[in-house]
């Protein structure tokens, strides 16, 4: 047992050691690139360990007592290593490593201390995410869950001098906290009902149908709320597009490949519990599908390349959630892994483009394919994977999800997801055509990025293709669902691409004219305003939070300070009055003594 636990524990400990080293040894952190080297070395070793763990197919469940109580520990810490965790280990360490290498080139203009700070956060994030993945209990998962949230906040606000970045960081923190509140309440309620936080006993009971708790539905909805916040599901998806204020590699790692998938991971991990409450699963499925469609429509009208990708992440997370809700957690998890690869690829590609052009606006790019063909090729590979074209990785996982949702008989979500396939292909093709093939010349002199950036891109692109081929061979290319599903979805994707080609490349259909026709014009109007959700939350925030703050400020200023000011003012005035008694003439004092004694005498005579 111990030997098996040892290796995953090392994988977990390496980034933590790097974090502690960088956090404590200030000169090392301030050295910048050296700090990056430390962090990269740790995560590279962790990747090697994770690959061994994964290829050996380790399984273990080791726990140690944590919070002591009278009859056995109340909570434990430990490692739960199973195929689910193994796959996540590899994904997290791989993407972390590539992103950290990429960041060395991407952030080469940063001052050394800032770069050191960046790598300190990166190491902390890698540790937190690995800890989350390996958690054997809800309570440990929650601790790491909050840690990744903290890292997300720190890294979104990496350029904290920029007000928009600071605001986005706070917004992400606040909105995910709303979900986390539900999560922690759900965990505690579950603990109160069953007396344990640990997955294994809970799942064992669930399998024996011995988990008849009153209000399990409520508990699971609350736990799901945590996933809604973290995985940016409707209606808490608004923080993710704003999170793009962080550096692009951060978006690739945290807000595409790893942290935002924590919610999906949670739902997948707790699948035996969710399976007991089919109504909650149905809710998850509908919300997921709706999120997918909503975010895809938002991506179609966005001009900022990173925000398009952010909305597409929200949309793909909706896919995963829909699959989890439809009772196809395997499909959901497969999509999580493939999406992690190609979305990281797309973000890093977008980072290379932004690096070269110096703007995020796709309408100010154009013709980039000629200037940077390597980036162009990998970006197109990623876009095709996202659009769901065979034989790339995205095709198979998306097929599996659609098949799962269809098999679950959820017609409504299936229609929404199918429509999303079309929209996904459309908005990705729109970005590709506008940025890489458009006629408008790009600003400045775009050039290929250095190898530290191109290497990760090629690696991810290669993996996207390889995983796709592997999936194709493993399944013999057989689709999961009914026979018409695969051709239909490819046709939908092709239609989306064709539409984008006609509108943005060929120019035979004027985008402005299409946007002006009735149902689309109203939709476009709404989508440009993000369906009013940001405004609504902003209003609520201002109304409630700021109102409350003002009330508290008033109480502080006039009640708390008021009591003190009143007391001090009267002490001052009273002292001024009493001062006059002190005449400085001994005879006055003797008068006082004499009359005092006289009064005492009288008092003793009459009342004594």
């Amino acid at each position: 047992m111990r030997v098996i636990v040892w290796l995953p524990l090392l994988v977990l400990a390496l980034p933590f050691a790097a974090f502690v080293l960088l956090a404590v040894v200030a000169p090392l952190r301030r050295a910048g690139r050296l700090a990056g080297g430390v962090s990269i070395a740790a995560i590279a070793a962790a990747l090697a360990g994770a690959l061994v763990v994964w290829s050996e197919g380790f399984r273990s469940d080791a726990t140690w007592a944590w919070i002591p109580a009278d009859d056995g520990p109340m909570a434990t810490v430990g490692l739960l290593v199973d195929p689910l965790a193994n796959a996540m280990l590899v994904l997290v360490t791989l993407v972390s490593l590539l992103v950290q290498v990429y960041s060395l080139a991407y952030l080469h203009d940063e001052r050394a201390p800032a770069l050191g700070r960046y790598y300190t956060y990166q190491s902390l994030f890698a540790f937190s995410m690995l800890g989350l993945v390996l958690s054997p209990s809800f309570i440990q998962m929650f601790v790491f869950w909050e840690l990744v949230g903290l890292c997300s906040y720190l890294l979104i606000g990496y350029w904290y001098e920029r007000p928009s970045a600071a605001r986005a960081a706070v917004k992400a923190f606040w909105i995910t906290k709303v979900g986390d509140l539900g999560f922690v309440i759900g965990i505690v309620m579950l603990w109160a009902a069953t007396g344990t936080f640990e997955f294994e006993p809970l799942f064992a009971k669930a399998q024996e149908h011995a988990l008849a708790i009153e209000g399990l539905g409520t508990i699971m909805v609350l736990i799901y709320l945590g996933a809604v916040g973290k995985s940016a599901q409707f209606p808490l998806h608004v923080w993710l597009p704003d999170a793009m204020e962080g550096p692009t590699p951060v978006s690739a790692l945290i807000h595409a490949a790893t942290m935002v998938t924590a919610g999906v991971f949670l739902v997948t991990r707790a699948q035996p519990l969710f399976a007991l409450v089919p109504d909650v699963l149905t809710l998850i499925g509908w919300v997921g599908a709706f999120t997918a469609l909503l975010a895809a429509s938002l991506a179609c009208v966005e001009d900022d390349i990173k925000r398009v990708l952010a909305y597409s992440t929200v949309s793909q997370l909706g896919y995963m959630m829909a699959a989890a809700g439809a009772g196809a957690p395997d499909a959901s998890f497969l999509h999580l892994l493939t999406h992690g690869l190609f979305k990281a690829l797309l973000f890093l590609g977008a980072g290379a483009v932004i690096h070269a052009v110096g703007t995020n606006d796709i309408f100010r790019m154009g013709g980039l394919f000629r200037a940077m063909p390597q980036t162009g090729v990998v970006f197109v590979v990623g876009a095709c994977a996202l659009a769901g074209l065979p034989p790339l990785a995205g095709f198979f996982s998306k097929e599996a999800i659609l098949a799962g949702v269809w098999a679950a008989g959820m017609t409504g979500p299936f229609v929404m997801l199918a429509l999303t396939v079309l929209l996904t292909a459309f908005y990705m093709a729109r970005v590709v055509f506008l940025a890489f093939f458009g006629r408008a010349p790009a600003a400045g002199h775009p050039h290929e990025p250095p190898w530290a950036m191109r290497g990760p891109l090629w690696l991810l692109a290669g993996l996207t293709v390889l995983v796709g081929l592997r999936l194709a061979l493993a399944e013999g290319g057989e689709p999961h669902g009914p026979g018409w599903l695969a051709p239909a979805s490819v046709a939908a994707a092709a239609a989306g691409i064709a539409l984008a080609w006609a509108m943005y490349q060929r120019g035979s259909v004027d985008p402005a004219r299409v946007g002006a026709t009735f149902p689309l014009s109203a939709l476009g109007f709404m989508a440009r305003r993000r369906y009013g959700l940001d405004a609504l939350y902003g209003g609520l925030y201002r109304g409630f939070i700021l109102g409350l703050s003002r009330l508290i400020g008033w109480i502080d200023r006039y009640l708390v300070d008021g009591v003190l000011n009143f007391g001090s003012a009267w002490t001052f005035r009273g002292g001024d009055r009493l001062r006059r008694i002190q005449s400085g003439q001994p005879q006055d004092y003797v008068y006082g003594v004499a009359f005092g004694v006289l009064l005492l005498l009288i008092w003793a005579q009459w009342w004594g």
């Binding site: 001062r579 008694i581 002190q582 400085g584 003439q585 005879q587 003797v590 008068y591 004499a594």
Partner: protein
């Protein structure tokens, strides 16, 4: 003559001394008033010693006399120093400690 006569005399002397202390403007007058008050106490002590047959009172009276001498010596010395510095011993004008 009973005890009460001595006590009345002591009370009268004490009251006269207190009156002097409160009304005199001259610092030396105040000191004299204090002397009277102390001697009123002495009369009390000696009277009680005589009528109760307790020698402790006499011893106390001796102590008081010794202390009175010391007090007058110190007090007059202070008055002389004050006179040298302020050129006055009027109690009304010695109010440096006024709040």
């Amino acid at each position: 003559m009973g005890l009460n006569a001595y006590l009345t005399l002591a009370a009268l002397v004490f009251a006269i001394g207190l009156f002097g202390v409160l009304t005199r403007r001259n610092a030396i007058g105040i000191l004299l008033g204090i002397e009277l008050m102390l001697n009123a106490v002495n009369i009390n002590l000696v009277a009680f010693a005589r009528f109760h047959g307790d020698l402790a009172g006499l011893i106390f009276a001796l102590f008081t006399i010794a202390i009175t001498v010391a007090e007058v010596a110190v007090g007059l010395a202070i008055v002389i120093v004050i006179f040298r510095v302020r050129r006055t011993v009027e109690a009304d004008r010695l109010d440096l400690l006024r709040g």
